[in-house]
């Protein structure tokens, strides 16, 4: 191989390495993020949320300013949708790794009659130790759910399971400044949820 040929080969190798580096490490930083959920550009902060945690303390949305808050409305007796969603959220948190320190996932119970704060805490921490379960009286939960775009209604279940509750299964993201920014569908994967949360972590 002549000196010229060697230089051309070296040039090609360097170009290839450069292109691969740009493709995997540089371009993703400039590529706009495509959300799995629906983005909201509200100039209003997320609706007021004031409910009880298992230790009796009052949890407010404002307590988490500086963190990305992921809100889900469900209940502990939920047979399918809630465990599936919470499992996906737990996987999303795992994907985020250390960045998850800036994220708070919480489930608001739409079944305050059966979901005591203690039961709720036990249920959500089964999916992830940092998840928070919150509840309140029926009227307060109904008011908050409505403002977060969530409907729920008691439905006949089986004799063994008792009643079930039909409810909206979307996941809501509130950004670090307390603005409601994203509605994720139930169909979203853990990877998509993690990517959307990551975008708002910044």
């Amino acid at each position: 191989m002549t000196v010229v040929q060697r230089r051309i080969a070296l040039g090609l190798v360097v170009t290839l390495i450069g292109a691969l580096f740009a493709w995997f490490f540089v371009l993703p930083r400039f590529r706009p993020h495509i959300f799995a959920g629906a983005v909201i550009q509200s100039t209003q902060k997320a609706p007021r949320l004031e409910l009880q945690a298992s230790d009796g303390t009052t949890v407010r949305m404002t307590d988490f300013e500086g963190k990305v808050v992921v809100v889900y409305f469900g209940y502990t007796f939920c047979p399918d949708v809630c465990p599936a969603t919470l499992s996906k959220l737990a996987s999303a948190v795992e994907i985020l790794g250390e960045e998850a320190e800036d994220v708070q996932v919480m489930m608001v119970s739409v079944d305050p009659a059966r979901d005591t704060p203690e039961l709720l805490a036990e249920y959500v921490t089964h999916f992830h130790p940092d998840f928070l379960g919150i509840t309140g009286d029926e009227a307060t939960v109904n008011r908050i759910a409505t403002l977060y775009g969530v409907f729920y209604q008691k439905s006949d279940g089986t004799e063994a399971s008792g009643y079930t509750i039909d409810h909206t299964s979307t996941v809501i993201l509130v950004d670090r400044e307390g603005y409601l920014k994203l509605v994720l569908p139930f169909e979203g994967t853990a990877e998509q949820i993690a990517a959307d949360i990551d975008y708002f972590i910044g």
Binding site: P32, I34, A38, V39, I40, Q41, S42, Q44, P47, A139, N142, R143, A145, T146, L147, Y148, G149, V150, F151, Y152, Q153, D166, T168, T170, I172, L180, V183
Partner: protein, 222 residues
Amino acid sequence: MSRKVIIRSVVPVALIIVAALAFAIFEPIQVLPRIRLAPGYLLTDQAAATLTSEDVRGDIVLYNFGYSGCGDDCAAMNQTMVDIQGRLDEADVGDTDVRFVTISFDTATDKPPVLQEYAATLDADPKQWSFASGEPDHIANVVKAGFEAYYEERDDGSFTFDPVFVLVDGWGVIRGEYRYQTNASDTDKILHHLDILGEEIRNANGAATLAYEAAHFFLCYP
């Protein structure tokens, strides 16, 4: 640094800036703002059936708020809804269903049979246009806090209220609010906005999503 290197690094940046400016100025794509989340609700319609926010998920919904005993105060607002229902084929929304929901805040009077009669006086197509009401506290929460539509009962049982239309997309996100105008011009505006929303639903897929996101970013609103 040579002149050639400067030109090579400056030109792409300049092109990007020019393209962004051109997008912002000429607005090749128009979109409706994604204002805020519409409230979730559980109501009873004119057929005494349950109507929930989940029943209309995936559909474009035009809401208004009134009551059956409203009379002349609602005439213009109702006429706008009737006109939009009649001229809906002027808006190209593709395969997406468009629905109309009139929420009554006279929860004591507007039970299903009354709403049924009210709907009949407006020639409302029951497959497309629902009239619904519910528990007083829930209605207050949905209409006042959720849709931000003011109403108050007077001493004589009538209501004072803001005639407002609210356009909500299939995600349950409010995309248009039309306040303080109950004249016919609202019909044209809302039909135009339905057309824009339909176009976004049809086209904002794959790579085109980025163009629509850019339109939102540059506030390319009609």
